[in-house]
Symmetry: C2
Subunit: 237 residues, 2 copies
């Protein structure tokens, strides 16, 4: 979707490890790999036909991003953010994305708006479709919008932070999402773009904040006591 890949994040070395990293990352973001899933080095290595060395590098990379949890002598698992972590995540998103929106309002070029339009079209298209596959794609596209926002702001450092936050948000939605409408809301993305077009930095910032609030509201973070059980059930290898 976005033409810039994740190469920003990573080393240009580690070709192979990066490919595996991105594949696993995509699978996690699209909820094909659910939280708690064990990522055995040997198994992953066999799937991608590489040695454990390369797999370890990829898993380490994902661990730094918070998408994978590594336990000593136990192995690596797809992360299962706690409700508390989820709250911290959204707090961080509010702080960072508000700033990004302000910057983007001043920086956005015509080319940027073209990308926004393409992204919005893709989103609405996917939302009209039904089925789990398009649900996944919709969550992904929703994330792409936020990353695009960071991209337009033109700060690679903040863009990388956003990538991490978005990816982890996807995990949170997988665990605590209620409707799945979390991803898009009532064309709030469109409203944000409109504010950007008006160069209304404060308006865009405010819209982003309420948008994130809406995403968070759609989560079920309250059932603190029950979660460990459900998590455990999902974690059964």
């Amino acid at each position: 979707m976005t033409q810039t890949s994740f190469s920003e994040t990573a080393v240009q070395s580690d070709d192979r490890a990066m490919v595996i990293r991105d594949q696993l990352r995509d699978a996690i973001i699209e909820h094909r790999l659910v939280p708690g899933t064990k990522l055995s080095e040997a198994e992953v290595g066999k799937l991608f036909d590489v040695s454990r060395t390369v797999v370890r590098a990829a898993l380490q990379s994902l661990t730094f991003e918070g998408l994978v949890r590594a336990e000593r002598n136990r192995g690596a698992f797809v992360a299962s953010p706690s409700p508390e972590e989820a709250r911290q995540l959204f707090e961080a998103r509010r702080q960072i994305e508000a700033g990004i929106a302000r910057i983007a309002a001043n920086q956005a070029t015509a080319e940027a708006f073209a990308r926004f339009d393409a992204c919005l079209e893709e989103e609405t298209r996917l939302l009209q479709e039904r089925g789990p596959a398009s649900r996944r794609a919709a969550i992904r596209a929703s994330g792409e919008f936020h990353i695009l926002l960071a991209d337009v702001a033109g700060n690679p450092i903040m863009r990388r932070f956003m990538e991490e936050l978005i990816a982890r948000s996807s995990l949170v939605i997988a665990l605590y999402g209620r409707t799945g409408a979390s991803s898009c809301g009532h064309n709030e993305h469109g409203d944000i773009v409109a504010a950007l077009r008006d160069r209304d930095a404060e308006g865009a910032s405010r819209l982003v904040l309420t948008h994130i609030d809406h995403i968070e509201t759609d989560l079920d973070l309250r059932s603190y006591a029950e979660r460990p059980l459900r998590e455990a059930l999902l974690s059964v290898e």
Copy 2:
């Protein structure tokens, strides 16, 4: 200084790699390792008496943080942020630290203020001393203050971002720092703590912003054309 170590950031596995990572990281932050220095796997491994495998993990970790630049089949080097990257870094810091200050103003406990006081005392003590060693320690202590701010805000995710930003700022100061007063200014840290004590979120946020502006002002980012030469000279192994 701060009792919480960097364990937040990392995997609890990779004991040994983490130790090396932290040692290298500290050396970079304290300017004992200057930008451009080559970090040969074999050499580092010999120094710490571990195999290249462990060193690679440590270097990979530092690469993700942006403290090390890895070139395929060439090796790893202490990063040399460009002036452009430096600007982006401070832009990110303004966005993130302003938010952190607001949160910290509401969250700070008595225990937090005790830590602030200890940090400020340490800073002023180091500033009174002369010599390169205390200069290094001062830069380090200055960073610790900002991390402490993030710590008090109570959001581990933003804390981790701050750790990265502070570490990279130290690199930038090493490259472009003019006076070294970059680290502290005119007791601006103390003013920030005072605002926190007053629960003045907006005031604290504003003070943080001007503080970061002052740090950036003290840098010499203008001489774009000359830098590559100086950088190259510093990079001579």
